[in-house]
Symmetry: C2
Amino acid sequence: MLDLTLLGTGGGMPMPNRFLASLLINYKGNKILLDCGEGTQVSMRICSTGFKSVDLILITHTHGDHLNGLLGLLSTIGNSDRVDPLTIIGPTGIVDAINGFKILVPYLPYDINVIEIKENEDFIYKFKEVEICALYVSHSSPCVAYSFYLPRRRKFLREKAEELNIPTKYWKSLHQGNPLNLNGNVINPEMVLGENRGGIKFSYVTDTRPLNSIKDFILNSQLLFCEGTYESLDKLDKALKNFHMTFEEAATLALKGNCEELILTHFSPSILNPGDYINNAQNIFSNSYIGKDHQSIMLSFNEK
Amino acid sequence: MLDLTLLGTGGGMPMPNRFLASLLINYKGNKILLDCGEGTQVSMRICSTGFKSVDLILITHTHGDHLNGLLGLLSTIGNSDRVDPLTIIGPTGIVDAINGFKILVPYLPYDINVIEIKENEDFIYKFKEVEICALYVSHSSPCVAYSFYLPRRRKFLREKAEELNIPTKYWKSLHQGNPLNLNGNVINPEMVLGENRGGIKFSYVTDTRPLNSIKDFILNSQLLFCEGTYESLDKLDKALKNFHMTFEEAATLALKGNCEELILTHFSPSILNPGDYINNAQNIFSNSYIGKDHQSIMLSFNEK
């Protein structure tokens, strides 16, 4: 199970009525922060997320509306008594950016480990059981999309275990895939495990034009967070010029990617009420929704 | 006349219910920003101050709650089409800090001129007609207080000018202090000007313990903005440890400095409602008030 909190849904610049687009992912109390514009730490306070247990920060790109809040957040995490190292992952430019921050915040009680994602190389990072993939997209500076996959264990078939007279104290280890030597008989986990089951997949795509490669990257996501910087195709010229998407383009991406649900985010400051334009997305992909600041979403395994 | 806008009144860290302490000073449409924590630009938007006409930024010290918002604000000022150079003034450390920002925001359409105030040297800076002085105070990092003085012109005595048969077209130049040669007779401005008149003085003191030197620095201010990080003398141990003041100490400073009015600011996040404790200040200095985010104050010349 993954708990997600949409810390903000704004793009471009910090505004009075909307926090900048950012997502907090909570997996068993360990947290991943995705993007951190100015004010993200304030939104974290409103959502009472805490700071100490942020173990990983993912940055889509080094534009200020996705990065500047890190300057203060690094200090705030330090003030939360964190001493464990923190990992920051981002595209080309992230090492230089974090080095810049380190000049401004030279004394932190924890180490920062920065990983710069290479272009033209597959990127997979394991956070606990969660597999994180990154894909370079098309923006005015190096920018990546992220997808997250939490695999699901195969079902433990207790009736099979009972048939084989396996004492219950060995069940957990077998479920974890470890063979068992029971009085000279080797019990293979395969003998007591059900079929493979799909895990939880969700994706986060922002600050890019729609690309075919994104469609493959987000394929079959239970949930797609996608930028809808502009509310309608009428603004396509701006979307093209600034390397962003319209609501229609985001919905088309969700459709092509066979996603189950789309949450739009990263709204231009010019959009006062994104809900006024949701039809532009729903006419293409009915399960389209407007992201709301401080919205919580719980993702569970789909099948039984 | 000076128009002041209290952009925020919080100290320590950005919080949901209070912007970080910052002041915007508007003199004839030219603006001075004093301190810039995370979120200051959002408060500027709420107050519709505009960004392009910020000509001068004064920083009290380089702690994050007074500085971090500059990272995004410099870009936002750039996006406002400003091309005129911008001056940033601050204490020891400001040059390094701004150099750090320049790494993170390398492309701005205007030049930044940084002035680092030297310790043990008088500092006076002239912004239009406003004289700005700085004083090193006592904090855990180099920190300065600022005072502002707008002199008032002497009154033009029109009855004297009429007695001397000076045509009205020369009055303005005489009022500005220029002598006049009228048909061979030299008219000295002293002949048509009234007595010296007091100008507008206000001061801004934050992140320091009270000092005797501050009392002299703020002397006779029409208005003193002073930090009241802690609400009562019960917190004196914290005030001493963290180099801050209590409400009582700020009020005592206003009293000793013969100020006309005190506005408290830079409240600790632990103070939910500073107004609950205003008596702690008013018992010492009756013209004490709690600063409010987005409050506007107009300072006019006192005497006629």
